[in-house]
Symmetry: C2
Subunit: 256 residues, 2 copies
DNA sequence: CCTTGCCCCTGACGCGACGTCAGGACCCAG
DNA sequence: CTGGGTCCTGACGTCGCGTCAGGGGCAAGG
């Protein structure tokens, strides 16, 4: 009926030393000891461990976790509900980070000079500061790290030259169709939008139609980008916004 | 042209001590010192700090970050692209966590006895183990923690009794409509589905129509849930899946 | 009966990423 | 010339473990 420490370690993906530690600090004291003084974890202990790991994944200190879990008024469901809220909040935060990175990459390709404050914007905000830890093990193991390295193509300066030329060409083509009076939701304009999206996906990150539509909005709404884009042709940023949106809608309809 | 350490600390949301630390270990050495030996950070230093903070948010150890950033073949855009990939991967992982929590909450309300292995499933998988840290400061400050506490209603045992009675009632009602031959996409069935969704949102977490549709699939596909649901009436789980999906589709169409 | 393995135990020290004083310098304002 | 604010460099403390070191329990095999 009881589980040995090694067994629990394997099941939970923790080390034995970690479980020893949790025992010592009173965070997770196994229900029993065998005659040979071995730790014996009950099912309740395991559920408690799950709670601990979830809170830990969310970044709580072990002491905090202890007070949370030892609160007698808190039911298991209370914890689950709270954990769920925290996880979704964290996801929202990371989406902001992802968007900021997309923003920065665009600024990079456009040679925009963002001020330090603009670049650090994401971190300057109140609560942000520290998350992390995750990778002390995840990237600490050299093999996992090497794998991660391998997956990132090491672009050369020549590559980046080509990237810039390519994106420049796409902008020129879009500026032309705009000047010719082609509506933004015309196939020709949408195809160019799609080419732009493919360009980003190829060189930077997986740019979904949704993200791409967001990019278009940014071009039109963020004056720094508007200025750079409209340098190609007056009103191009608004045109891009429409073309990207039309293309995204087209792709969604194709999907069903 | 240079920024003082306190200034940088405020902009980036870090403490002065942290910047001292990064200087000492050579991770971020300010470009200059004033005659009074004060640190003076250049714009490049600030961009490097931004890179550092992003990698740190993703959980890299400072030593790893140093080797990443000092790789001469890596361009700024290479880092941005890699960071973007890492962030989206992390989001995917957290979505799994959120779904697992939804799963566990359902199991809880149905009084399902999941095995320890099933409960720990999420953590047993290879790479998972440690994330976290985030909250040493975020929840370490007592006020922020208190706020988080306040937002979670402390349900009593009586409350949970009512919750169970309520969900039982909804299931009964749905079983009735099913037995009467009402199709799952009928308004009556969809209204009951919506009541179920509201019930979850009220007591557990913000259950979006999409999540709710996922729940319906789980009822039908996971045999442990199927057994419990079908105990009310044979085939109810499949009926729920259809009703939840129909309701989700209805809500989406209402939105536009 | 004794050895070999394997898993378990308890210290005790080490480390990474800072926090927290302690003691002192600079510099402008009143 | 006395504050107040910001800066500096040690040096020690903390948290969440990792990593030995030294030893026990127990089944299988020689």
């Amino acid at each position: 009926m009881g589980h040995a420490v090694g067994e629990v370690a394997r099941m939970s993906g923790q080390t034995v030393r970690t479980l020893h530690h949790y025992d010592r600090i009173g965070l997770l004291v196994p229900a029993e000891r065998t005659p040979a003084d071995h730790r014996s974890y009950s099912h309740q202990d395991l559920e408690r461990l799950r709670q601990i790991l979830t809170y830990r994944e969310l970044g709580f200190a072990l002491g905090q976790i202890a007070t949370l879990l030892d609160d007698p008024t808190a039911h298991t469901r209370t914890h689950l509900a709270r954990q769920h809220r925290l996880v979704t909040e964290r996801i929202d935060r990371l989406r902001e980070v992802a968007q900021a990175l997309e923003h920065l990459m665009e600024a990079e390709t456009m040679n925009l000079n963002l001020t330090p404050a603009e670049r650090l914007e994401l971190f300057g905000d109140f609560d942000v500061d520290a998350h992390s830890e995750e990778a002390h093990r995840r990237w600490g193991r050299t093999d996992a790290y090497a794998q991660s390295q391998g997956r990132v193509n090491a672009y050369t300066k020549a590559d980046w030259g080509r990237v810039n030329a390519e994106s420049e060409e796409i902008y020129q083509a879009l500026a032309r169709t705009m000047r010719e009076g082609t509506p933004a939701d015309n196939t020709e304009a949408m195809d160019l939008a799609e080419r732009h999206r493919a360009h980003i996906t190829r060189w930077f990150y997986d740019c979904t139609p949704q993200i791409h539509r967001g990019l278009g909005r940014m071009y039109a709404d963020d004056e720094r980008f508007t200025a750079t884009v409209d340098a190609h042709a007056e009103g191009l940023s608004a045109y891009l916004r429409e073309a990207f949106a039309a293309n995204a809608a087209r792709l969604r309809d194709d999907q069903g």
